[in-house]
Symmetry: C2
Subunit: 284 residues, 2 copies
């Protein structure tokens, strides 16, 4: 069973209305007049990071990918729960946690500790408070919207390939940018699995086609044009992908990479044609 079939099966379960039919990275929970934003992401050795990775980097990435989901909803983090695998280097893991919790001023709420028998798996649940309603969703894009990226696409790939893990292991969740953008966007998500894959998901969820111009994508300075095709299929950048009216005045720097069109044969067009091959990372 692959990831898409599994999620389809989960959709047959009793779902909370805030689960948004499992179409989004986050769930919404209305409590006492507030809207909470909840997300859970796990990372596993050999899947999300290489064996031998500094546990401080693992801790940073674990929390960062969850905070990035909150960022894309314009949410203010309230706290995190950590599901930690005990290892011989758990001191380093705690120090990485300390770094990111202090950096983003997010307190630890609790969690659980296990000593697994195989490669470690770590989980994190992040809880935030929505700052705007409706909370930006994947499903909100409208035909005619401009499609934007805040942040860069491909820095994680460059870092990974160069053996410099900073961009790959220490993503910077765009919390302040997400909060600033939230009142202005129709749809928003973070780019975790690849720009093309995530844009196609947003388009499909919104009943549109995303039309992207490759040479408009904000690649890091100095990236060879030979790397563009791979970079738009590589995840881990945690940029923000969003749509807004073409004439919107945006409060933070963002680059227009395309337009949302009426739904067509494909949810995604790259320079006018359906892209070839894989669009990004999917658990097979």
């Amino acid at each position: 069973m692959d990831e898409a079939a599994f999620i389809a099966a989960l959709r047959t379960l009793p779902l909370h209305p805030g689960a948004q039919d499992l179409q989004d990275d986050c769930a919404l929970l209305e409590v006492g007049g507030e809207t909470l934003v909840l997300t859970h992401d796990a990372i596993a050795e050999g899947v999300h990071y290489r064996p031998g990775t500094d546990p401080a980097d693992i801790a940073w990435k674990l929390v960062a990918v969850n905070l990035s989901d909150l960022a894309a909803k314009g949410a203010e983090p309230l706290g995190v729960l950590i599901g930690a695998a005990l290892t011989d280097q758990s001191e380093c893991f705690v120090e990485g946690l300390r770094e990111i919790l202090l950096r983003y001023q997010v307190p630890l709420l609790g969690g659980d500790t296990i000593r697994p028998q195989g490669p470690p798996v770590f989980g994190c649940t992040a809880i935030g408070r929505a700052t705007v309603t409706p909370v930006p969703a994947r499903t909100g894009a409208r035909v005619g919207d401009a499609l934007y990226v805040a942040g860069r696409i491909g820095a994680a790939m460059l870092g990974f390939n160069a053996g410099d893990g900073a961009a790959y292991l220490r993503p910077q969740p765009m919390l302040s940018e997400g909060r600033a953008l939230a009142p202005h966007v129709h749809a928003m998500m973070d780019v975790s699995d690849g720009l093309l894959l995530d844009a196609s998901r947003m388009a499909a969820a919104s009943g549109c086609t995303a039309s992207i111009k490759l040479n408009a994508v904000p690649f890091p300075a100095g990236m060879s044009t030979d790397d563009w095709a791979a970079a738009v299929r590589w995840g881990d950048d945690y940029a923000l992908l969003f749509t807004a009216p073409a004439d919107a005045v945006l409060p933070v720097p963002a680059v227009r990479i395309g337009t949302m069109l009426a739904a067509g044969e494909h949810p995604l067009l790259l320079d006018g044609a359906a892209p070839e091959g894989s669009l990004g990372y999917q658990h097979s």
Copy 2:
């Protein structure tokens, strides 16, 4: 680094006030005049269940152990987030999820899916709404309180040893009992790691000594007295352990197993003496 040292290190991080200094299974979050109760527990193959276990049982246990934490806080479940490992039998996992979500009327809020490279690890975050404040904590036991168990101690061990996994793999979280008890108790927790270990934790957190009479413990019918010493050190029963005034009129059946005494040399006395050997299950 063992589990206790790891938790001690986590206590040096920026903690949310609702983390309760990581002394409890649950965290508390005040939102819009309501108090949410949050818990995260993971289960791993080879640690919490044997390889070859029916994935439907894994799903049941995963959710049940988290709902049991909510039960011990008297909380009403609002939803769960699931961190699932994809396997070749994920259909069965979804069916087990369906069974327990329907049984306890808990909706799925969301989650994450990975395909780990080693033995699977599953995580669950359960979110509940407190029904009484203050929410029953581990720390609330008072000298002179009676110590009670609602439920049975040892059924999971019997089932495991007999090769009948129902009690071990399909624990029944005592949600309605926990809600009924919450207004009456001074301290409450579920028995997940062994009665003696969990009672000693409650006593230490409350600054008391728990004095337990072995022959007062509610063992399953037909358990040999030879098994008593092991049963009180075996986890997975998910009974409720709580203290209340000795003259409290309790709304659900519960058995008095002892008394909370002033803190002494040991946090736990069994038939008047510090028990020998391990008190229960700890990740080493």
